[in-house]
């Protein structure tokens, strides 16, 4: 099973037509890969579907705008992968609690 990062990188490569081998764990989605907000909507849609989650983009954006977080925390891909893993774990924990 591929890692979360690999799945994200594949989604970005396919969605934004960026060569897969240029997408690294250290890549910043905006600053390094040049992904704009519209393309990121497409990526968020694909990630939400692939992982069965709802990435809280509005909350993240608000935190960045309020100076409570940096864009690196959410948009450097290895960090994004961590955030996604956290969301998946929270979803699974919720599911096991409910069952």
């Amino acid at each position: 099973m591929s890692s979360t990062f690999d799945q994200i990188a594949n989604i970005i490569a396919e969605t934004c037509d960026i060569p897969r081998d240029t997408i690294k764990p250290e890549s910043h989605a905006i600053d390094d890969l040049g992904i704009d907000s519209l393309d990121f909507l497409d990526i968020a849609f694909a990630i939400d579907k692939a992982f069965g989650i709802k990435m809280p983009l509005e909350k993240w954006t608000q935190e960045v705008n309020d100076g409570k977080a940096t864009t690196e925390q959410y948009f450097v891909l290895k960090n994004l992968a961590d955030r996604i893993d956290e969301l998946v774990a929270a979803k699974n924990a919720g599911a096991s609690t409910a069952s």
Binding site: L38, L41, D42, A44, F45, D48, K49, K54, M55, P56, L57, E58, K59, T61
Partner: protein, 156 residues
Amino acid sequence: MQLEYFQLIDRIVDLNLGERTITVEAQVPQTHTIFEGHFPGFPIMPGVLLTEAMAQSSGWLVLGVTNFERMPFLAMVKEAKMRGFVSPGQLLTIEAKIEHEGSGFAVTSAKARVGTELKCSAALTFRHIPFPDPKLRVYMDAMAHKIGYPFQAIAK
């Protein structure tokens, strides 16, 4: 349809928030200056307006899902297919369904038919934000009442 005001939807036929679907009707006017140029001797609804009609249908659905607290704005059009001509005077029945609800965005699929004949379809993405101006909220409320928006469906 009041094309001058970009009001393409005439009536909400059905709104099912549980299923995340909406069905609306849009009456294409019998005469309009648009048809003088599009096209002389062969008047048809422009594809961009059919796409807009599908977008407005989806937009009314997103408004309902967000309890009229957020305004949807069209952000992406994918797989827009104009499958058949739509002529002056025809009645469009448009169905839209929310395929995904993201954080601050929604993805819908929409189809428009004349009778049973599928005329166009598209996958649409909307950003939605809190109403940026109270005037817009008032306007959308008024429009909703005008087209028979089933507010009782939201109140459930």
